[in-house]
């Protein structure tokens, strides 16, 4: 469970987050959506202490993160990056096995864990284990990124625009798989995106943000049927129009 209470974050340049309170229940997926500068990535970074709140508190599983060792916290929370963040001088297996290795697992345990994880994300360990990231496609690299994030058996997964650098077909396949992993592993997941359609399709809860302020927090259905403001309504216009147009195309073709 992740809880933010009255969190304010100020950077030297200005206010990044204003009086933010929200809760992600265990096993839920929260999608943070908004344009650049809305504060969604800052919110994500609060969870594993890559950003400290100027005021307010952040609780992970009931514990105030300010009182927890940052390194231990980050290892207990998996992170997936938009640009994959794979280390180019390490093989796929070494990237995935890096944290288990640093946490003192035996070589045999690491080997077994890496194989399990690669299979979990749909990459054959024998084929991909010894390859270097540069030899993989974008989709394959992000699968490795997901496997690496899951390596220390985290209960929380943070994903910062994980599909942003992928083509639409790859994005769709990986999104489905991530959603499935989230359910199968019982993860509590926070996912950042600027794509409202993706937010509605992926999230149990969707938080719409703008200029450091949370505009609305609710299920996709609540957002669609009862947008709290004109701005939220305007953001929902795009997926709604897409659905209508596609619907007409599909029925016209039938």
């Amino acid at each position: 469970m992740i809880e933010l209470h009255c969190v304010q974050v100020t950077y030297p340049g200005g206010v990044a987050l204003q009086d933010l309170s929200l809760t992600v229940a265990a096993g839920q997926m929260l999608v943070l959506v908004g344009e650049s500068g809305s504060g969604k990535t800052t919110t994500l970074k609060l969870v594993n202490r890559r950003v400290d709140p100027t005021s307010g508190t952040v609780l992970v599983d009931g514990r105030n993160v300010a009182t927890v060792d940052a390194i231990a916290l980050r290892r207990s929370v998996g992170t997936v990056f938009q640009r994959f963040g794979l280390f180019p001088h390490m093989t796929v297996a070494e990237n995935v096995g890096l944290l288990p290795r640093l946490m003192g697992c035996s070589a045999a345990d690491i080997h077994a864990r890496v194989n399990t994880l690669l299979e979990m994300v749909g990459l054959a360990p024998q084929v991909f284990g010894d390859r270097f990231p540069a030899e993989l496609s974008g989709g394959q690299q992000q699968r490795v990124g997901v496997a690496r994030a899951l390596a220390p058996r985290p209960r929380i997964l943070l994903m910062d625009e994980p599909f942003g650098a992928l083509d639409p077909v790859t994005r769709e396949g990986l999104a489905t798989q991530v959603r499935q992993l989230h359910v199968d592993l019982g993860l509590t997941t926070v996912l950042v995106t600027h794509d409202m359609t993706e937010a509605l399709l992926m999230g149990d809860q969707v938080a719409v943000m703008h200029a450091g302020v949370l505009l609305q927090l609710g299920t996709p259905a609540q957002l669609l049927h009862a947008p709290s403001s004109d701005r939220v309504r305007a953001l929902l216009e795009t997926p709604r129009l897409q659905v209508e147009r596609l619907g007409r195309l599909v029925s016209g073709a039938a």
Partner: protein, 525 residues
């Protein structure tokens, strides 16, 4: 050519061994200092700017000057000042490349490492250093090439190196020696560069064998090379060759008999010949002799005062003007007497005696030019000087005698040009300059048919060649006895002939051969 080449290669183990030892230690120390220092400042931009700035300033000091400065700064001579200067020189490329290489690692990757929960140390070790490795190694390679090249300049501060070929060759017009020195230094630099490149390639492409091979070969080459002088001269274990502890001036008079003697020589032909001659006499007396050739003029004197060399030949006028800072005139016997007293009182150095000839500075010009201008003495130059260019060696225009000469005769030349003394004679012969400050014992005055101008007002002091002994050997019976045989025996005609044998372009002799000839001519029957 091939005969003179094989002559040169006889010195190879000694010169190459000393060179490799110096470079190996300098590189290792440079690496051990620069790498941690770079890692310490890499996350502190202001500290990095200070460190890189300082290393940059050191780099702008001309390398020969940096080496020369280390002698008075460290009050030492030979290996230590050369080593310190080379270590300082080696630092900039390693520092700069390490800092640059690490700060240029993709910020997405350091951000990812941070988010995954790597500690700053793990990030450095597992992510930043491996990714910056090619750039860091490129810095080490640059530094290695610089060090091997600059180490040739450590000869004048008393450290044997491949520079002995170059400096010695330049002074004795032995171009084979100069070429040998250049080619060997270049080959050594290339070899080290190649092996480092191999090791880095192995690390990058994950071929541990290549890395082990590259680094292993590098270590084997440097260690074997450094031991070469000891392997090559497989002399029986010599218990006498214990280096006497260095003692302060004057404090060694009561110590046990001296068994090994270090003979010094400055950077010109006559000095090499006289050093070889003294070596012969000392060896004949059963002493172990080592040599320190091509020393800067004041380097040799300072080294003698500290007993880092034990004996060399200097010239009374040089010591009178430069060491005693005297500008007054005195007859030769008085100069020698006052000098002997001053050296003993001030430095514990013994002026053993004069060899019998003088090697004075003397103004010389082409015979036809002197006749044309009607010049026979320095006095005659006064009117012509504003139209004339004068050439000299590196040190003369810095010496007090030059000021005295100008003042005594009211000379104001159009131009002064400094040369290596090797090139001074051709310069006046080819009319590049009108007058040179020749050396009166130099065989080339006669060989080039130059006129030596009289010095009627005795602006130049006397320059009797004298043997000086360090405090350590000043009272040693064997050393004194061996060298006393030479005193008063060498006249200027013989010295000129010996110098010419080495300096001439045809039928060149080595300084050792010339010393042998001089020995035969001057030994008591």
């Amino acid at each position: 050519m091939s005969a003179s080449l094989s002559e040169q290669l006889e010195h190879l183990p000694e010169y190459m061994g000393a060179h490799m030892l110096l470079c190996g230690v300098a590189l290792l120390l440079g690496l051990c200092i620069s790498l941690p220092m770079a890692l310490l400042v890499v996350r502190r931009p202001r500290a990095a700017a200070v460190v890189l700035g300082s290393a940059g300033v050191i780099q702008t000091i001309p390398s020969l000057a940096l080496l020369a400065l280390m002698v008075p700064l460290l009050k030492s001579f030979g290996f230590l000042p050369a080593l310190v200067a080379l270590v300082l020189y080696s630092m900039l490329p390693i520092l700069r490349n390490t800092v640059t290489g690490i700060s240029q690692v993709d910020p997405n990757l350091t951000e990812a490492a941070n988010a995954l929960g790597l500690t700053p140390g793990q990030m450095l070790r597992l992510v930043e250093i491996p990714l910056a490795l090619p750039i860091i190694v490129a810095g080490v390679r640059t530094s290695a090439v610089w060090v091997v090249g600059i180490a040739t300049l450590s000869t004048p501060v008393g450290q044997t190196s491949l520079g002995n070929y170059i400096f010695g060759g330049l002074q004795t017009r032995n171009w084979t020696a100069v070429m040998v020195g250049c080619v060997l230094a270049a080959a050594l630099a290339l070899l080290i560069d190649l092996l480092l490149a191999l090791a880095e390639r192995g690390a990058r492409l994950r071929r541990p064998m290549h890395t082990v091979l590259g680094l292993g070969a590098l270590v084997v080459v440097l260690v074997t090379g450094s031991l070469w002088p000891h392997l090559a001269t497989s002399r029986p274990p010599d218990t006498r060759q214990v280096v006497a502890p260095q003692t302060s001036a004057g404090a060694a008079s009561q110590s046990a008999p001296v068994t090994s003697v270090r003979v010094g020589a400055k950077t010109f032909t006559e000095q090499y010949i006289l050093a070889a001659l003294m070596e012969r006499h000392l060896r004949a007396a059963g002493l172990v002799v080592t040599r320190a050739d091509s020393l800067g003029s004041t380097v040799a004197f300072d080294a003698l005062c500290r007993s880092e060399i034990d004996v060399y030949v200097d010239y009374s006028g040089t010591l009178w003007a430069n060491a005693m800072k005297r500008q007054d005139k005195a007859p030769p016997w008085k100069v020698l007497a006052e000098l002997a007293g001053w050296l003993a009182d001030r430095h514990g150095v013994r002026l053993l005696g004069a060899l019998g000839f003088e090697n004075a500075y003397a103004l010389a010009m082409r015979r036809d030019r002197a006749t044309q201008l009607g010049i026979a003495t320095v006095q005659d130059l006064t009117h012509h000087a504003p139209l004339l260019a004068v050439g000299s060696d590196y040190e003369f225009f810095q010496r007090p005698e030059w000021r005295t000469l100008q003042q005594t005769y009211g000379l104001a030349f159009r131009e002064t040009v400094s040369f290596d003394s090797t090139f001074m004679y051709p310069a006046v012969v080819e009319n590049k300059v009108d007058i040179i400050t020749a050396f009166s014992s130099d065989g080339r005055i006669a060989a080039y048919d130059l006129v030596v101008l009289d010095d009627p007002r005795h602006a130049f002091p006397p320059y009797d060649a004298v043997v000086l002994l360090s405090p350590r050997v000043a009272t040693d019976a064997a050393v004194v006895g061996a060298l006393q045989e030479m005193l008063g025996r060498i006249d200027v005609a013989h010295m000129r002939q010996a110098n010419l044998m080495v300096d001439r372009d045809d039928d060149k002799w080595t300084p050792d051969q010339a010393a042998g000839w001089l020995d035969e001519q001057t030994r008591r029957p």
